[in-house]
Every structure is written in C-alpha cells, then in structure tokens.
Subunit: 357 residues, 2 copies
Amino acid sequence: MKLEEAISKFKPKVEEALKAIFDEKIEKAKAYGDENARFYENLKEFVLRGGKRLRPITLIMAYHAIRKPEEELDELIKASTCIELLHNSTLVHDDIIDQDELRRGGPTFHVKYERLLGQRAPPKARLLGLAMGILGGDELFNMGFEVLLNAKFENIRVIRALGHYVNAYRKVVNGELLDLIMSIEDYESLSLEDYMLMIDLKTAALFKESIRIGATLAGADDEITNGLSEYGELVARAFQIQDDILGIYGDEKTLGKPIGSDLREGKATILVIKALEALRGKEKEQLLSLLGRGSITVSEVNMVRDLLKTRGILKEVQGLSEALIEKAKGKVRCLDIREEAREYFLNLADFMIRRRY
Amino acid sequence: MKLEEAISKFKPKVEEALKAIFDEKIEKAKAYGDENARFYENLKEFVLRGGKRLRPITLIMAYHAIRKPEEELDELIKASTCIELLHNSTLVHDDIIDQDELRRGGPTFHVKYERLLGQRAPPKARLLGLAMGILGGDELFNMGFEVLLNAKFENIRVIRALGHYVNAYRKVVNGELLDLIMSIEDYESLSLEDYMLMIDLKTAALFKESIRIGATLAGADDEITNGLSEYGELVARAFQIQDDILGIYGDEKTLGKPIGSDLREGKATILVIKALEALRGKEKEQLLSLLGRGSITVSEVNMVRDLLKTRGILKEVQGLSEALIEKAKGKVRCLDIREEAREYFLNLADFMIRRRY
C-alpha cells in the first residue's frame, strides 16, 4: 500500500476513533461537574487540531506486515490511537517545559487554560494554566494506556503491547531529561553521540514502539518485530535530522514556524553540533554568538544558512540522513513480511527526507 | 491480623520491594547518562523518605480477604508497590500545582531539582525544577503501571487490576481539577456536596482502587470486591475528614506542619464549609477574613478553634466521621471474607479517626 493510500484510508478512521474516545469521556465527566467535562472537550480539541497521524497509521501497517486485519480492523484502529494519545501527552507536558505558546496553529494546552481560567482569577492565571497542563498531559497518557488495555486481542498480546507502551514513555521522559540537561550545557561540550542518544529516546522511541505494538498485536515473531523496530529507529532518526534541517532551511509558510526559529531558540541541532565541530576561528565565534539570540535577523539567518552550505555541513548532514534511509529500506526489503506493508514502509522511509513540513 | 501486626509485617517488605525496583532503574538509566541515573536516585529518595504505606498494605490485605498468599506472596508485595508509586506520582505533580516546598521533612521533588540544577543555570532554576517535577511524576506513574503489568498473576486478573489502576488515576486527576476550581470560587458558593465529590475523587478513589486491585489479583467475586471497595470509600472519607480536623486542631510536632496551616492556606475543608453554613453575622465575617490570611497568628487560630467548638461544628464533623466508620465496619462484618483480613479492616477503620498524625 502506498503511503498516500494508507493515509487517506486510515487517517479519517483514526480521527473518528479518537473523537469517539473523547466523546465518551466528556459524557462520563459530566458527573464530576461542568469544568471536568470541559477539560475533556479541550483535550479533544487539542488532539484533533491536527497532526499527520503517522504513528498510529504506522502501528496499523505494522499489523498489516503480519496479517491483513479482517473483522478486527475496528479494534486495531481503536488500539492504534494509544500512541497518538501518548504522543499528545508528551506534547502537552513538553510545551510547558519549553514554555511554548503555539502548537498546530492554536494555543498550547496550558496557555489555553491560562486564558480560560485566568479570566476568573487573573493573579493565578499562570499557575492555573500550568496546573491544567500537568493534569491534561497526565490524563492523555492514562487514556492511551486504557485504550490499549481494552483492545480486544489475546490477553498475552495486550500485556506485551502495554510493555512497549510503558517503554516508549520511559524513553521519551529520559530523552526530555537529556534535552533539558543539554540545554544548560556549553555548546562545545556537546557531542554527536549525545545528540543521537537524545533523539533516539525523545523522538525515535515513540516511532519504534508504535511499530512494536502493531506487530505484537498481530502476533509477529521476534525476528520480524525486531527487524521492523530497527527500521523504525533508523527512519525516525532521519525524520529528526530532516526536522533539524527544516528548522534552519525551512520555509515559513509550509512549516508554520518563523524562519530560523531553531537558531533563535539556540537548539543544539545536528547542524549546530556538526558546525561547531568543523568550524574554526572567527566563523565559529560568529555562529556561537548568534545561537540563542532572540533578536536574530533574517540576514543573519541567511548568513548561517550560507555558511553551513559553503562549509559542506548541510551536505554532510543530508548524506547522513540519506544513509539512514537506505539502511532502513534495506532492512525492510529483507524481512519476511506482507507486500502491502513493505511498500508502505519503503514509501514512508522516502517521505521522511522528502518532506518539506 | 491486627493493624499494627500487618504494618510491622508488610511495611518493611513493601519498602524493600520499592528499593529493588528503583535500584534496577538506576542501573539501567546509566546507559542514558549520569543525570538520568541520578533522576531515579532522587525519585527513590523521595518515595522512600517516608509514608505509612497504608495503601499497599491494604492492597495486600484485600488479597488476604480471599486467600492467604503462599508462594505468590513476594509477587503480591511487588505488585502492591504500584499504588504507592501512583500515589507518589500524584504527590509530585500536586506539589508543583500547590507550590508546596516541603514534603515528609524534606524538599518537594521539584524544589529539590530547582536547587540541584539551579546551581548550574541560576536564571533557569525555577523552570528546571518544574520540568524535572513534571518528568518525575510522569515516570513514577509509568513505573506503577509497569510493576502491575509485570506481576505474575493470571493475565486476565492483571488486565482487570490495570483497569482499576487507570480508574484510580483518572479520579485523582479529576479530583485535583475540582480542587483547583474550588480554590478560585467564593467560599460561600461551596457546598458539602462539592466537597464530598472532591474528596471521593482526590483521596478516596486511590484507597478504594487499592482494595479493588488486591481483591482482583486474588480472584474475588463481584460481591466481595464491591463490598470491600465501598468499605474503602467510607473509611477514606473519614480519613480525609480527620485530616481536615488535624489541619486545624493538630499538634505541630506530631503533624510536622505549622499550626493552622489549612486556615493560612485558605483551604476549603469540611470544617470551613460547615462553619460558613452555620455561622451568621460577625462570626461569619471574622472567619471569612481569616481564611487564606498568610499572617494569621496563633491567637487567631485559637480563636477559630474555640469558635468551631462552641458552635458545635467540630462535634458535628466528628460525628459525621464516626458514622462513616461505623457504616464501614458494618460492611466488613457482613462480608464473607477471611477472618484475619476482617480484623485488619476493622482495626484500620478505627485508626482512621483515632490517628493524631
């Protein structure tokens, strides 16, 4: 199945399943009071505001790698939302940690509540937003667990899949911790190794475990589960590297973020780490002085773009990401899986570095 | 089994099991870096700093209500830590929300990190503490899931017990939300009904679901599971009411909190709600003016204590709590459960209103 076909087939179904899950919670929460019901309405709005749903779709396709779902398709789609709920849980908490105010063209969850409840108690607005953000992320994680727990597959498969869910979350938490620590260290003490570990935990784990959950629910053997999950790790690394590239070279319109925002925030991206390794003297000092400068201008961003290009750093990083994709595709070609899933995974790998948003 | 006997038998074992769980995590986290390993060390210190462990012990005794654990005792003790991990997860997040700095004679988790990481980046100290507190609570909740998920009992029992774990957390989150909303409402708009719902969700649910988890792991039928869990709700309500009484009448030394701290923080306790219902005119105004006054004096606290006594409010609330305990004991007397568990539950009920700390 082609990537586009899988997206157009499953994305609406995943979103419908998410809607139904939230609607049930909204209904039940009414017994606790209006504000509790609104809490679930706001969680619903946040989760359904957007997103490509690549994680649940990939979970579904990992199941397809083993068997074509027949009458269990609805259960599989419902179960696949677990990873979207988990992902959104980490976004809500991460947005508090990063003090981000915008997400998918709207306010982040805690900022939304800062405004909603802040009207009623202005001096406590920030604290109320923070509190609701903490509770919101907590409940999304809990809901994701529940969705998988209630999935009607063999008990032993559900228990194993939940183990992957727990692992995914642990890795994201540890990755965020590393990211936080990296943000208070000197740029020059950061190595490519630190960076790769951080993205493996913070980004790749979720992708990898989505695949493990799908394969586990289908009853895959270890060889296929491990092979697919290695594939998942490789493409997710390439995905993150592409994210870093877009963070500097991306177009404001298609990306939805201001130009050079990664530079402005002083993020330790792979381009920055590689550049600080390669550059010397004045060029290095210049880059260091621009990192994290809130007032960075468009012409300064362009200067960094040119510098990374002329010094071959962009090319090197692109090469790294292409190599990851080739390796990932090689893995998928060798596995004894169903052809429609293979096509999807090969397509997805290419998309990871082709994407412009 | 008498309450004291159960505590002296199981408390050390529960704490040993907790230690072992954290030690394994510390070891594994070393692969992610020193700071990750220290994260688990700090979580361990926080969880092991104190606490009566009544929730896991009660979970264990709910199992005893059905059958005496033989060779599965170690597994049961390990599984019982899930509820202590969940409880601590909610404490870590709640301490951020309430901006509390002290817990069990030491700094709250986020304040500890505010100091630890704040040394390295002073302007970001608060944010770093907050971030680590969010991640810490997240991981404790996740660890609780994992402990129960890995418990070696029949798969179907584990799956059902996990359902209770999910419910417990959902209720705590919804209870904290209600508490938050109550904190920005006028005292006079609060009803006893709001208060009871809030404590049922925020406090009683955890106790009730601990019992459900223990009974479920033992394979109890619905009659016993429901009967015991109704008992749990009743005693937990009494526990919270006693907490409210101690919050005003408690002794600074045994309680570890400054005298009148509930009044200082302006908490909507049952005594306050009942008093505002009963008092009129000047007395009511006086109480309203003292609620939430940071600078409240010892003599003002004593004045409130006397007022609640002479107006019969303390007595009324104590009567309410005694009635709950009598009802709870009645439930336990009628259930077809093992005698050593019955003795424990009857003892525990008495302890709930006898306790001075």
